[in-house]
């Protein structure tokens, strides 16, 4: 056996706390949940082996398809909108110079500091169809706003609207990428007669494509795992659970209900593992597609 060099050995020693954490608190429980996904388990009695019954049940469960439908629609709406808005904000931030710049960056990031639970409660008030500020605002233009929180056709839209509150991280990542776009490329294009849109399209966008790709991936993952705000708004207390039906049933919300409301831990574990595999697959596809679209040399230029 090859002997480890002293530095390598020390590196492992320093990594040890993290490795132990990974095994005990991440990999171990994940493995346990994989095992549980093949059992019937209600937390109180011992788990009973159930074969693939939990996975078979998912195929028949109408709520699973409803939850997947809601989650996919939300993801398809949220990701493009969030990135478009965040990019617009980042472009604005990039224009602001001087002393105000720091203040604006802080202000743009502030919403991300609000706890998700607070955001959920806040938007329940803002979106209320009878007394909420969103509809009061629409009324200024003579529009009778929809019942965002109670109309099953609008609940998902209301959630998308709420999700655009929290763009701080995406904005900061895109803003950092914009700062790295070399000015001389833009100037050269300008000398060649390129307009604002052409410069954005042909210079800026390719140069920040790796950052864009990154935020697409993390936003997709976050959307598929949407939970906190939705749970707070529509499932957080007993009265809420009684009155909104399935319009806001997201995949992870359903998983949580199965696990902690109905105590079907085995079924919930199976749901979790399917989500895990789906996210892994989607990300794999995104990486494959992304490799063709992303201009990675940008980093070398920037460096």
């Amino acid at each position: 056996m090859r002997r480890l060099r002293p530095e390598t050995r020390w590196a492992y020693v320093f990594l040890l706390p993290w490795l132990i954490g990974l095994v005990v608190f991440q990999a171990g429980p994940m493995l346990a949940s994989l095992v549980l996904s093949f059992t019937r388990y209600d937390l109180i009695g011992a788990p009973e082996f159930a074969g693939t019954a939990n996975y078979a049940r998912m195929l028949e469960d109408p709520r699973v398809s409803r939850a997947i439908g809601n989650t996919v629609v939300y993801t398809l709406l949220h990701v493009p909108l969030a990135i478009a808005f965040a990019l617009a904000l980042a472009l604005v931030l990039n224009r602001v110079t001087g002393r105000a710049a720091g203040a604006f960056r802080t202000i743009f990031y502030l919403p991300s500091m609000t706890p998700y639970v607070a955001v959920g409660v806040l938007f329940l008030f803002l979106l209320n169809g009878q007394a909420g500020m969103v509809n009061q605002f629409l009324a200024l233009f003579g529009i009778e706003g929809p019942q965002w929180t109670t109309d099953p056709d609008w609940i998902l839209m209301g959630i998308v609207l709420m999700s655009l509150w929290n763009l701080g991280s995406t904005t900061i990542i895109l803003f950092a990428a914009l700062r790295n776009v070399p000015r001389e490329l833009s100037e050269a294009a300008m000398i060649d007669g390129a307009g604002t849109w052409q410069r954005f399209r042909a210079v800026t966008l390719p140069m920040i494509s790796s950052a864009l790709f990154f935020v697409v991936i993390i936003n997709t993952i976050a959307s598929l795992q949407m939970f906190d705000q939705v749970y707070t708004m529509f499932f957080g207390n007993q009265v809420a659970q009684q009155s909104y039906g399935d319009a806001a049933l997201f995949y992870v919300v359903y998983l949580f209900q199965q696990a902690f409301q109905f105590l079907h831990m085995g079924y919930a574990s199976a749901l979790a593992w399917v989500l895990f595999l789906v996210i892994a697959a989607i990300t794999l596809v995104q990486v494959k597609v992304g490799n063709r679209l992303v201009y990675y040399e940008a980093e070398e230029h920037a460096g």
């Binding site: 608190f25 991440q26 171990g28 429980p29 994940m30 493995l31 346990a32 949940s33 549980l36 388990y41 937390l43 109180i44 009695g45 998700y116 639970v117 209320n128 169809g129 009878q130 007394a131 019942q147 929180t149 109670t150 109309d151 099953p152 990542i173 990154f214 993390i218 993952i221 976050a222 795992q225 949407m226 939970f227 906190d228 749970y231 707070t232 957080g236 207390n237 007993q238 009265v239 659970q241 009684q242 009155s243 909104y244 039906g245 319009a247 992870v252 998983l255 949580f256 902690f260 409301q261 109905f262 105590l263 919930a268 574990s269 979790a272 989500l275 895990f276 996210i279 892994a280 990300t283």
Partner: protein, 473 residues
């Protein structure tokens, strides 16, 4: 309570559930991992706690409670009574609302509290799973006078013929009418009778007020989906068989009741608007919907009325019984109960605790303290509605005095009069949560206009029966 919000523990779980932020694609799996971790961490505890039901431990007695708080004299007086009678027991009260996850993981880990305070409708599901233990031994050894409890409360704490809990409060459902709304509609509020469904529908429309697409007053709030069992009962239908094994959600009478309540809501402006409107209510504050004339009439638990006696004693309301179509009062009752979890270290002390907390004498002492406090504040005491009929006898004949506020004095009489009409939905074994969810969702689908009442209840019936069969197989 109506305003119960996300408990702190669940909030922590919620926070943990979605870890987010600027991590690379390599971290794809992390958030899913956190969720699986939550499940698995609890799972890892499984199988440890097999302390067994009837375990008795001697000396060094201590008692730990869960789900119970000490917000007022009704609680503290009774706790003091227990401490006085049992000076040798070290009492630890873990204040805070009942939290299902915390409770079940404690049971699974083999270190449960000795006694737990929770909603009576959960008892069947925990009893069926073996998470709580029967109290028949306790009742026999310590001579608990179970006959003192209201029959409906007794029924709700029994499962499979055994006692699994002792009832605390006894919440009744009554009809509360805003006098102004009734008079605007040209009706004497005291004359309103819910047994005539046609006239009730007319009245509901008359009491409703809208302005420019906005609801100003909800004429008659039937409190669906939560009161579906009550509406079904008013139309002569039980939604579950007495043994809790067979769903009766497909009873055409239940569908008829749901269709009627839905029609009421539609005629008053539609569910989506009305629901958004009721979401803005604060039933327990000084700006409650009766003071603000936002409600014509509504079905509600009696504690909304007793709360108003404290916050807005001059409100003009009339409290009436909710009557079925034959004209008899109908009342879906509920409340909390004390239970002893599997593996409790000190079941004897737990039994003594339960006996003291639910005994007539203790309730009466607590009621006297509350009456004295209200008198000091110059407010009316509208009674404490306990699960103990013997205690209520004394409370309402000796302690509750006419306050001079007619609406509340009359309300007390009405609430007392509907108590014996109280019924409960039977305990439905391990599938209680699924059963409830099935009919709630069905009623919601109807209200939202997604499904017809009969179809919605038919689907709920299939879902519920499947869950019950799976749980009992």
């Amino acid at each position: 309570m109506l305003r119960s919000s996300v408990g702190p523990d669940r909030r922590a779980a919620v926070r943990a559930a979605t870890a987010r932020g600027g991590r690379g694609p390599a971290a794809v799996t992390l958030s899913t991992a956190v969720i699986t971790t939550m499940i698995a961490a609890l799972a890892a505890c499984g199988g440890v706690g097999s302390g067994g039901g009837g375990e008795r431990s001697g000396g060094g007695a201590s008692l730990t409670t869960m789900g119970f708080g000490l917000p007022d004299e009704i609680a503290t007086v009774r706790v003091d009574a227990f401490k006085k009678a049992n000076p040798g027991i070290a009492l630890q009260i873990n204040e805070g609302q009942f939290d299902e996850q915390a409770f079940l993981s404690a049971v699974a880990a083999g270190s449960p509290p000795d006694v737990v305070y929770l909603g009576r409708d959960r008892i069947g599901s925990y009893a069926a799973r073996g998470a709580i233990q029967p109290l028949d031994g306790c009742v026999a050894e310590q001579d608990v006078p179970v006959g003192d409890f209201y029959p409906a409360a007794q029924q709700q704490v029994k499962y499979d013929g055994k006692w699994y809990g002792m009832p605390e409060f006894y919440n009744s459902i009554v009809l509360v009418v805003g006098d102004k709304a009734a008079k605007d509609a040209g009706v004497d509020p005291a004359e309103i009778d819910t047994s005539d469904w046609e006239r009730l529908a007319e009245l509901a429309e008359k009491m409703t007020r809208t302005e420019g697409g906005k609801i100003e007053r909800f004429g008659f709030y039937p409190k669906l989906p939560e009161f579906l069992p009550l509406w079904a009962k008013a139309n002569g239908a039980d939604i579950l068989s007495a043994d809790g094994r067979t769903s009766r959600l497909d009873d055409p009478k239940a569908a008829e009741a749901l269709a009627y309540a839905h029609r009421l809501v539609e005629a008053q402006g539609g569910w989506t608007k009305l629901k958004a409107f009721t979401d803005t209510f604060d039933y327990f504050g000084e700006g409650n919907p009766f003071v603000k004339d936002q409600i014509g009439a509504m079905l509600t638990e009696q504690f909304v009325v007793t709360a108003m006696a404290g916050t807005t004693p001059d409100v003009k309301i009339t409290v009436l019984p909710f009557k079925d179509r034959q004209g008899n009062p109908v009342n879906n009752v509920g409340g909390n109960a004390w239970v002893v979890p599997k593996g409790a270290k000190n079941p004897d002390a737990a039994c003594a605790w339960i006996k003291t907390m639910t005994a007539a004498d203790t309730w009466i002492a607590a009621a006297r303290a509350r009456a004295a406090k209200r008198a000091q504040e110059g407010k009316a005491y509208t009674g404490t509605y306990t699960g103990n009929a013997k205690a209520d006898e004394v409370i309402f004949s000796e302690i509750v005095k006419p306050s001079g506020k007619k609406p509340f004095d009359d309300a007390v009489k009405v609430i007392r009069s509907v108590q014996e009409a109280g019924f409960v939905v039977p305990q439905s074994a391990a599938a209680a949560a699924e059963f409830k969810k099935a009919w709630e969702d069905a009623a919601t689908r109807v209200l939202q206009g997604e499904q017809q009442p009969a179809d919605a209840l038919e689907r709920a019936h299939t879902e519920a029966q499947k869950a019950i069969d799976e749980a009992t197989s």
